[in-house]
């Protein structure tokens, strides 16, 4: 069968006839899990300090982590093929949920991001974070690469609908990240240099349009404040000034665990959610930051390795997108906390408090593991 030939070609040099080991049969990538566990463990330490030594918060986070791990392993069992087949339906489902949020979502802290179900309340935009790369990867993997103008247009529409819906919730950070995760796939799929160049040229008017038609006043304010935090030192500029002080005052080796004054005396805003890296930087210094970055680098490295080793185009695009989006989280979070980027609500992966973000990340890792562990099975089953 041509199919089998194709698979054989793909698996040349990878030991086609190799019997899958037990980790592959369980669809678990121990290296990835190991790095994730280390970061999660370190995160709990930082969270303990950042939460003002509130053990209940730490325990709750640990429970989320456990649930996340279970979810990750379950998702790892789902074959990429199934995902591909289901992708149009989950996309439509996701968009319906987003529309539902706009009409019947729960208001919290000035935003409408949640849907309340009898036992659980959840944020559809988090689910979109997973759906978006699946859908775009699935769409493009069925087309000829590099993508044609028509394909690009379709992809942009696929990306655009949820991005605008989420931006109106309003949740600018998530909306941009989701947009980015879709665009990454376009880039990975070999978007032509000419087009990338013209996209950059197009970026200027589209940023203008975004500024005027999509962004809300408080979102604009954040950007303006970012450009000049001293313009409002006691208001919107406060966060960024204080987090820079927290990071900088940590110096090379930090003030020591539980000894960060910026966070413990509440100068640092949102110290156990979005700004938790500042707590780490204050208490463990540059060294602590480098260790965390190194751990992240290992996860990203593993993710890119999985991407390169993926058998199918869908797998490659999806794995690449998930890995790069994970990196973008880290970059945007640390960038905003250290004053490089405007403050958009992006948590620090695996460290910031919060079950939703954790669940999404774990699910993403689950997809990575699924991509990595289903290839030999694929080969043998045919």
């Amino acid at each position: 069968m041509t199919g089998q030939d194709f698979v054989r070609q793909l698996n040349e040099g990878q030991g086609f006839h190799r019997v899958p080991d037990w980790s592959e049969r369980l669809h678990i990538d121990f290296m990835l899990i190991g790095f994730v566990v280390i970061v999660c463990g370190a995160g709990l330490f930082v969270l303990y300090s950042a939460s003002g030594q509130d053990m209940s918060i730490v325990i709750r986070q640990a429970v989320y982590m456990l649930i996340g791990f279970v979810g990750m392993i379950i998702i790892a069992q789902v074959s990429p093929r199934l995902l591909m087949r289901l992708s149009p339906w989950i996309y439509i489902g996701g968009v319906i949920l987003l529309i539902a949020v706009l009409f019947m979502g729960i208001h919290s802290k000035g935003a409408q991001r949640w849907i309340q179900l009898p036992f659980i309340r959840f944020q559809p935009s988090e689910i979109i974070k997973l759906i978006m790369p699946i859908v775009v990867a699935s769409y493009l993997s069925k087309r000829q690469l590099p993508p044609s103008i028509r394909d690009i247009a379709v992809v942009l529409i696929l990306i655009g609908i949820p991005v605008v819906l989420i931006a109106r919730q309003p949740d600018l950070g998530t909306s941009l990240l989701i947009g980015a995760s879709g665009l990454f796939i376009l880039l990975l799929a070999g978007l032509r240099k000419r087009l990338i160049f013209s996209a950059i040229m197009l970026a200027v008017p589209s940023i203008w349009g975004f500024w005027h038609f999509v962004m809300l006043n408080y979102q604009k304010q954040r950007v303006l404040t970012f450009l000049n935090p001293q313009s409002d030192p006691w208001g919107a500029g406060w966060n960024i000034i204080q987090s820079k002080i927290a990071i900088g005052s940590g110096g090379l080796y930090g003030k020591g665990w539980l000894l960060g004054t910026q966070s413990h005396l509440d100068f640092l805003p949102e110290s156990h959610t979005d700004f938790i890296i500042a707590v780490l930087a204050e208490e463990f210094g540059l060294m602590g930051c480098l260790v965390l970055l190194a751990l992240y680098a290992l996860i990203i490295g593993r993710g890119l390795f999985i991407t390169l080793k993926a058998q199918t185009l869908f797998g490659r695009l999806l794995a690449g997108s998930i890995t790069l989006t994970f990196f973008v989280y880290i970059f945007v979070n640390i960038g905003m906390v250290s004053g490089l980027l405007p403050v958009v609500g992006v948590p620090l992966p695996l460290v910031s408090r919060g079950g939703t973000s954790l669940a999404t990340l774990m699910a993403g890792f689950g997809l990575l593991m699924s991509i990595h562990t289903h290839k030999t099975f694929l080969g043998q089953s045919r």
């Binding site: 690469l145 070999g190 204080q242 970055l293 185009l313 690449g320 790069l324 004053g339």
Partner: protein, 621 residues
């Protein structure tokens, strides 16, 4: 999958692989950006940001001193500090200030004054300093704010020491009051001493003794959190509390004097002749000084300020009245001392006096005249004609020089700032003030304490004290303890006169009260259980230096004569000397009698009792 077969999978995978490697390069570049950013903050900017973090955390706080208390002579509190709940707002923690103020106003009553005062203050405070909006919250208001705290970000309830005057209006003019430091005062006050202190003495003792009442602020280095809440104290230098003051004032006597005045306008000053201590200083009507402590609202202040009866005005030291006949004992001393009159000289009073070559008749108060009369009798009858006749011989300048020894025309030096000097005219003064010579007729009215001459009740009390002490000087003082850097006597030479002269005048003054022809006998002389020396006076009101709009009834009332009385008792051992002025009214002597009875009768009874028990002991032995 049929689609797959049409595609060049290898080429596609290669494209993706290249892009993945490219992405890796970008990722590494961006990580380098993050690391260099962290390096910049944590290494390059470390010193600066570490300092800022320390400045964030450590706050040098001043600890305001506790203001000194004020006690009367019997250790009764006249000014104290009471802990009070204040609602304050930290601007930095409020998103919409107007909205918040509206929300608060819906819960508890916030007046326009409170709100506008707050808005003024909010613009000149240090970051994260709380600005008070409303003082003296009651328990209910505190509870209302507490239960709504969650929707009132930036609002805090602080305990603050607030000045309180337990005796309310009784000491409004002597103790005075403190009030919020205003813009003008802010420029003159030493900021090092007033950090953390929001009030300053405005009038009375509170203002005069401000430097000693205030104390000295301490300071502490505290660790604060972002809300400015102190989490721990790192080091502390305690404040030095303000000095407590003890007064000569006798609260019971003061209240007795207020009661005796029966709400009439005027003033009572009672001095202890032994010390000069002010035992009572009443200016009626008065006001509640507690209204001013945390800021009086405009309407209330306006009512007080425009009140026709001038409750804000300290009549005891600012009120200038013609001394009228109360000056006669002093004039008599001057006449004797200058050998203008001998104690045996008699004149005939037919009821009026005319200057040679003038048709103008200077009338005696008793139109019928008192007949043959000597100096002693001229005092007890308060005969004007006698003094008219000797006026020109005495001359205004000799009169001026003699009277000025008694402190007339000069501040008494009482230890409050609100004091006027009165006016003791002379030829020199008139040239200076009017550019005119002194006319003989002016001496004739000056010698009976009318015309230009003006005195304050405090001065009248001082001069009667000098008579009681036979010239021995004492300084009028409210505060017992000597604080030389603040209390400076305005005058203070003892007056050396022939003892017989003192005797004659004091005898005449005693007769004013005790002899049935004395001017005060029928009013207060009967049934007196101690020997009182006094002198009546009736001052003509020529013009009223008050505002414009009042009704005719009132206007007429304000044109009536003032009634004056100076006295001391007991004559043989003076324990109280006092001056009473009732504006546009009569009965000053009755007030004096009531006050003296209140003060002396229990004392005399006690002395009597002690004497009796000593007697009993002796007989028992």
């Amino acid at each position: 999958m049929p689609v797959n077969t049409l595609k060049d999978h290898k080429a596609e995978q290669r494209i993706v692989s290249i892009r993945v490697w490219l992405a890796l390069v970008f990722t590494i570049l961006l990580v380098m950006v993050l690391i260099s950013r962290l390096f910049y903050l944590q290494v390059v900017q470390y010193d600066e940001l570490a300092t800022q973090s320390e400045e964030n955390r450590v706050l040098l706080q001043t600890v305001p001193p506790v203001r000194g208390l004020i006690y009367d002579r019997n250790d009764r509190l006249l000014a104290t500090n009471r802990s009070s709940q204040t609602l304050a707002i930290v601007r930095e923690r409020v998103e919409d200030l107007d909205q918040l103020l509206d929300d608060i106003a819906r819960l508890i009553n916030v007046t326009e004054t409170e709100r506008s005062r707050f808005m003024q203050q909010i613009n000149r405070r240090r970051p994260f300093e709380s600005v008070p909006l409303k003082f003296r919250l009651n328990d209910e208001q505190v509870a209302l704010i507490a239960v709504n705290q969650f929707r009132l970000p930036g609002v805090e309830i602080n305990a603050e020491l607030v000045r309180e005057y337990p005796e309310s209006d009784a000491f409004a003019h002597s103790v005075g009051y403190v009030g919020r430091i205003n813009e003008r005062e802010l420029k003159n006050l030493d900021p090092a001493l007033y950090t953390g202190t929001y009030t300053v003495g405005k009038i009375g003792l509170e203002r005069f003794y401000e430097p000693v009442l205030l104390g000295k602020p301490g300071y502490q280095e505290v660790e604060v959190n972002a809300r400015g809440r102190v989490t721990r104290v790192l080091s502390r230098v305690n404040p030095i509390p303000g000095k407590d003051l003890q007064l000569f004032i006798d609260t019971d006597l003061q209240n007795a004097a207020i009661k005796a005045m029966q709400g009439r306008r005027g003033s009572v000053v009672a001095l202890d002749p032994k010390t000069g201590g002010v035992m009572a200083m009443v200016s009626n009507p008065a006001f509640d000084p507690n209204l001013f402590v945390t800021g009086i609202d405009y309407a209330t202040f306006n009512d007080l300020n425009t009140d026709i009866e001038k409750p804000l005005y300290n009549r005891a030291t600012l009120g200038e009245y013609p001394p009228a006949s109360t000056i006669k004992p002093l004039v008599a001393l001057g006449l004797l001392d200058n050998n203008v009159v001998d104690k045996n000289d008699k004149i005939y009073d037919k009821g009026w006096f005319q200057l040679p070559g003038s048709e103008h008749r200077f009338r005696n108060w008793n139109r019928k005249g008192d007949g043959w009369i000597d100096l002693n009798r001229a005092i007890l009858r308060s005969n004007d004609t006698f003094f008219y006749k000797v006026a020109e011989k005495m001359g205004i300048d000799r009169l001026h020089d003699f009277l000025s020894q008694f402190g007339m025309g000069r501040s008494s030096g009482i230890d409050i700032h609100e004091e006027r000097a009165g006016l003791l005219p002379s030829t020199e003064w008139k040239r200076g003030a009017y550019g005119q010579p002194w006319y003989p007729g002016e001496t004739v009215i000056a010698i009976i304490g009318q015309g230009y001459m003006l005195t304050t009740p405090m001065q009248l009390a001082e001069l009667v004290t000098l008579i009681a002490n036979r010239g021995k000087h004492v300084e009028p003082r409210l505060v017992k303890e000597d604080i030389p850097e603040l209390q400076s006597p305005e005058w203070g030479e003892d007056i050396e006169l022939d003892d017989q002269h003192w005797g004659l005048v004091i005898d005449a003054m005693e007769k004013v009260v005790s002899y049935n022809r004395g001017t005060a006998y029928w009013r207060i002389g009967r049934g007196l259980k101690y020997r009182m020396a006094g002198k009546t006076g009736t001052a003509q009101v020529v013009s009223i230096p008050q505002g414009e709009e009042y009704d005719a009834e009132k206007l007429k009332e304000f044109e009536r004569d003032h009634s004056l009385f100076v006295a001391f008792a007991p004559v043989e051992d003076p324990q109280i000397a006092m001056a009473v002025v009732l504006e546009n009214n009569n009965g000053a002597a009755n007030v004096a009698r009531e006050v003296m009875d209140f003060y002396l009768l229990p004392k005399l009874a006690r002395a009597e009792q002690e004497k009796a028990s000593a007697e009993n002991k002796r007989t028992a032995q």
